[in-house]
């Protein structure tokens, strides 16, 4: 087994997704099966290889330090589930909860 319920639970919490017991059960089995399949990568010797995180050989893509127009505050907050005076509103935070 590549993964167990505790690990899935811990990982879901890192990803900030609440899981019901049923979901936890269900996902653990499925993810375990997928990870089992992924284990085929272990048959390859990759020690000497460079990782490819990007296929394009671009570098030094910059912009100059020039100020561009921002969007109006009303547009910034108009999709917000909760807001107050052009500020986004969230439940009270205690210290650095989370």
């Amino acid at each position: 087994m590549a993964i167990n319920k505790d690990t899935v639970k811990y990982t879901a919490n890192l990803a900030r997704i609440e899981l019901s017991d049923k979901e936890l059960e269900h996902f653990t089995g499925q993810i375990d099966k997928i990870l089992g399949y992924v284990e085929k990568l272990n048959t390859l010797d990759v020690a000497h290889l460079e990782p490819t995180s990007h296929t394009l050989e671009l570098k030094n893509v910059y912009r100059e330090d020039v100020v561009k127009k921002s969007i109006p505050a009303e547009d910034a907050v108009k999709n917000a589930p909760s807001r107050e005076n052009n500020l986004f509103k969230v439940p009270k935070i205690i210290d650095t909860e989370g």
Binding site: N60, K69, S70, E84, V90, I94
Partner: protein
């Protein structure tokens, strides 16, 4: 049992670019909430970052000034964590291939120097700002995406005082190269500290705590002083230090654990796929190096060599770029740099400190100061009068000759005038005269003081002293 303190500092510096690090929004302070935002710095779905070239260049400038090695290949990574002020719920930062590593900052401990190693310097984006209300919190993303440079020291700092000196030295360098406002109260410079204790002589580091929420250099020092004592008390009572983040409470002067339970962080760093890698070609680095002003350390060495200043005096003068510039301008006008240094570090710095005036706002042209010094040398005024004259010059902005003439502050050297004053002093202070005659040489200091008082400080001290002695001895 005696303990050693081990401190490492993390400084976050807001770089003074015109636009944000990954988008074109302005970096101005004090605008209405959410008016300096766009899809990129709001982290709207589909938006993509493009690096502000200037931010990387300013970062490189800092790296060079801190004698770091700049990476051949610079990459950005995502630091993943959930927090409402972080619009994408990840921060674009640098992990594996930071901008620069392995630098150092020299601090002065009395007459000794100590090198604090800089572990790494990396560029990242700032978060938004939270405002806490009674039962909700509000978010303004104007600050989101401002360019931040993180400067991490090695745990080479051995006392809260050294931490203070490290920050002062760092700030001085940063001000020289003009990359940031460096204002801790306004948040353009922020500092977190890691502190642990270990028994003297032990190699292994103790369990550390992370201290946050200091808003001045002094606050950093006070917080660390408190925390060092707290840790010592815990250890001496046989307790264990808990690895945790503590907040400094400036009102109470204590550090307090955060109220919420803290989870082990797992930031899941991985290469930011939305940005290509960067490198500085040799020529670009050379251009940046060429643009660098003379930094405090080489300047100090030059001042010692060229002006014959002591290590300490040179250190104090170069710690502020404008003070150093002021000194050099005066040195061009007046032949004895040591005397300039004495005045600068004595009366002038004391005045500035008392009135909270910065060098750039000091109303004292180098011509005026050097003019005054020349008047002392020529005997036109006494050193004592010069002290008053200096303040008068700063406060009125007028030249020394003007003030001296108007207020009649010239030195009294003619024997007749001095003789009158001396005679009066002798007749008014028979006890001291007796003391002197009885062999108590120090009594003459008192009598000289009285002579100065009588002449409002204008008496030529050498001549007055000579005449006073002659007079006292003549009477004997």
């Amino acid at each position: 049992m005696s303990y050693e303190i081990v401190i490492g500092l993390e400084v976050h510096l807001q770089l003074n670019t015109k636009s944000k690090v990954f988008c074109g929004c302005s970096t101005d302070f004090g605008s209405e909430p959410n008016t300096q935002v766009c899809p990129v710095c709001l982290g709207f779905p589909g938006s993509l970052p493009v690096l502000n070239r200037r931010a990387l260049e300013l970062g490189a400038k800092v790296a060079i000034a801190l004698k770091c090695q700049i990476a051949k290949k610079i990459r950005f990574d995502r630091k993943n964590y959930f927090y409402p002020d972080l619009p994408k719920d990840y921060q674009i930062s640098q992990f594996n291939q930071p901008l620069a590593q392995r630098g150092n900052i020299a601090i002065i401990l009395g007459e000794k120097e100590k090198n604090i190693r800089v572990r790494r310097v990396h560029l990242e984006e700032d978060t938004g700002k939270l405002f806490h209300q009674k039962d909700s919190s509000l978010i303004d993303f104007n600050r989101s995406g401002m360019p931040l440079l993180e400067i991490v020291s090695e745990p080479d700092i051995s006392s809260p005082e050294e931490a203070y000196l490290y920050l002062t030295a760092l700030k001085s360098i940063l001000e020289y190269i003009d990359v940031s406002d460096c204002n801790m109260e306004e948040g353009s410079l922020r500092c977190d500290a890691n502190i642990s204790l270990r028994k003297k002589g032990e190699k292994e580091l103790g369990v550390k705590t992370e201290i946050k929420n200091m808003n001045s250099f002094r606050g950093v020092k006070l917080a660390l002083e408190y925390e060092a004592v707290r840790q010592k008390d815990v250890l001496e009572e046989g307790g264990k230090i808990r690895q945790e983040t503590r907040l400094y409470n400036p009102g109470k002067g204590v550090t307090e654990p955060m109220r919420s339970k803290e989870e082990a962080h797992d930031y899941r760093y991985f290469p930011e796929p939305d940005l290509a890698p960067f490198d500085f070609g040799e020529d670009i680095l050379k251009t940046i190096e060429k643009d660098m002003p003379e930094l405090p350390e080489p300047k100090k060495n030059r001042f010692i060599k060229d002006y014959g200043l002591s290590n300490y005096d040179a250190g104090v003068i170069v710690s502020d770029r404008e003070t150093a510039d002021y000194f050099e301008r005066c040195a061009k006008l007046y032949k004895n740099p040591k005397i300039i240094a004495n005045w600068l570090m004595g009366d002038i710095l004391a005045y500035m400190k008392e009135k909270s005036v910065h060098m750039r706002d000091l109303n004292l042209k180098p011509e005026r100061l050097s003019g005054m010094l020349k008047m002392i040398d020529s005997g036109a005024i006494t050193g004592k009068i010069a002290k008053t004259l200096l303040i008068e010059m700063i406060q009125t902005g007028r030249g020394p000759e003007d003030i001296v003439k108007e207020k009649g502050l010239e030195q009294i050297t003619d024997a007749d005038s001095l003789e009158i004053a001396i005679r009066e002093v002798i007749s008014e202070n028979p006890k001291s005269v007796e003391d002197f005659k009885g062999g108590k040489d120090s009594a003459i200091m008192f009598l000289m003081g009285k002579v100065m008082q009588k002449t409002k400080g204008r008496a030529n001290p050498n001549k007055a002293n000579e005449m006073l002695r002659k007079r006292l001895k003549g009477d004997a």
